[in-house]
Symmetry: C2
Subunit: 309 residues, 2 copies
DNA sequence: ATCACTCATACCTCCACGGTATCAGTGGTG
DNA sequence: CACCACTGATACCGTGGAGGTATGAGTGAT
């Protein structure tokens, strides 16, 4: 009845994800037999069957599904403990802010300026990464706080909404859609976003593979696109996009035209940080950022409707 | 840069709590030298000093404080992973409800009756324990859901308020306080609750040691008192108490008199469960309990003011 | 019926974790 | 001021368990 070890959790997660002992062992950099033994030992310790195995198929039992989810969060917690301690022990501590480049509502300069005047402020460090890297970075201790668009998985995180920013439709200048001054989502049926999601149903997972792909073999999962790539796809007419107004303002581009979409939900940016955090630097940043956003929101909404190109 | 092991986390927590390698080693059931080496190895892995040690004193560095907190939550997460999987693999799964005996607002029978009619319902199992055992039980996987009074540390937990129940003053029948029909908290200055907290400031930590204590040596931390013990202390005039009305109704006691206290905050009972939980049995229980509480609350408030003895 | 694939078993090796003995600072005390 | 008790660090050793290799055995496709 003693605790599992981190090694055991890692082994189980690998097998549960691959559903194949050989590949899992490969991924773990070890041979298959000791992995089989290790999994069996976990099952013996817990007194539970985690995997149904034949020589042809490996499937998770319901107990295995439970363990897979909990093992992931436990591993994150262990990683986070080490990383946070490592960071806290540095001679010059910093506040690590995870964000996606340009997704700051244009407020970052003001927030930073205001934050630096705080007595509890620490020097800032930026953890740039794709949207899907931000929650993990918070959870495993790579970042202290994140600025990220909603919705996101906020389990284990404290959240403070920061600002709401309208988004526009970005489309190639030659596109027939530009004939309308105002659009509805329904007008975008059959169009796709750069990551392959349907433009009129961005809540659904990607349905189109993106990228060059012309080489014949099916393109793999949509990889992280940077702004330049996105702009190219839009300008070429391959995709449309929904940039927030601050991005439009910051990156004017002749070949791309913007139009308001009346039923397009706005971008909601929020701050998130680990619940355990009792760091005064985090608290000061949250307070400062909220104040800046609150005052800026007023002026922003007053001018935003006039900026549609 | 690899993860710490559970063993290392346990060792560090022991030393950080004892601030003494010898005692920590003793607690861990091992000799002191390997423990010293293990801690040094953790510091080497992280590249950080966790403990300042002389041969006379051991103190935590700031990095050590960070690791102590995060290591505790990580260890809880690991324990929870194992326990939840163990429980999920049982042939007859159950829903384990953590609660403090009698702190159910008198609704538990109705809630259980309603719950059993749910299609997603599982057989219930009760995890009885003191108030301070309930959050840990959720966090380390001994319980699936808890019924507990607010406020509590809800980090990592999802919470649903269930009901608000007035509390009364319970006092010995011979006490002069019984002369008043209605009281204020200020009238209770100098009185103590059974656990040693000041009756007029129950938000503060205990200031009086309780229990027999007459043996001369100072009584240790207030241990968990059961209802019978509490009633005894109250009846003897040693303490006053703030039972919720459902407890008063369920346990009438001749030597104890109850009075309303106008500025005494009511008892707020809430349901809490781990955020990771996606169990339909938990969801069904929450929904059912909330429905029962909502309908019962109406009738309860209508009669509660008339029940003051 | 055969074959390719994959998980389990058997056996071996070695490292790292823990134990014992001892050293080396530190702070209190007569 | 010298001595002593206390406590963490170091040195050295033994063993259990984690991982590797070779191989068996069951399963599903052709």
């Amino acid at each position: 009845m003693s605790d599992l070890e981190v090694r055991q959790l890692r082994y189980f997660v690998a097998v549960a994800e691959e559903l194949h002992f050989g590949r899992a062992a490969d991924r773990l950099g070890m041979a298959q037999p000791p992995l089989s033994r290790a999994i069996r030992e976990i099952e013996r310790q817990l007194g539970v069957t985690l995997l149904e195995r034949t020589t042809r198929r490996v499937t998770l039992t319901s107990a295995g599904e439970v363990l897979l989810r909990d093992a992931r969060t436990a591993l994150d917690a262990v990683t986070a403990a080490g990383r946070r301690a490592m960071h806290a022990g540095r001679p010059e501590p910093t506040l690590r802010l995870a964000m996606k480049a340009d997704y700051d509502g244009g407020l970052l300069p003001q927030i930073l300026a205001a934050y630096r005047t705080e007595p509890a402020a620490l020097p800032l460090e930026f953890v740039l990464g794709g949207r899907d890297q931000q929650e993990p970075a918070l959870r495993d201790g790579r970042a202290d706080i994140a600025l990220l668009p909603r919705p996101f998985d906020d389990r284990g995180l404290d959240v403070e909404p920061l600002l709401t920013e309208p988004r526009l439709l970005a489309v190639a200048a030659a596109d027939p859609l530009t004939a309308h001054e105002r659009l509805h989502l329904a007008d975008l049926k059959g169009r796709f976003l750069p990551d392959g999601r349907a433009a009129d149903r961005e809540d659904l997972p990607p349905v189109r593979t993106t990228g060059p792909g012309a080489d014949g073999r099916p393109a793999r999962q949509p990889r992280q696109l940077d702004l330049a790539q996105i702009f190219n796809l839009v300008e070429l007419g391959d995709s449309v996009w929904f940039p927030p107004v601050s991005v439009v303002r910051r990156h004017p581009r002749p070949g791309i035209v913007h139009r308001p979409v009346v039923d397009l939900p706005p971008l909601e940016l929020a701050l998130a940080w680990p619940q355990e955090s009792r760091s005064p630097a985090v608290a000061a940043f949250v307070r400062t950022a909220c104040e800046v956003a609150a005052t800026a929101q007023v002026t922003a909404t007053a001018t935003s409707t006039a900026t549609a190109t």
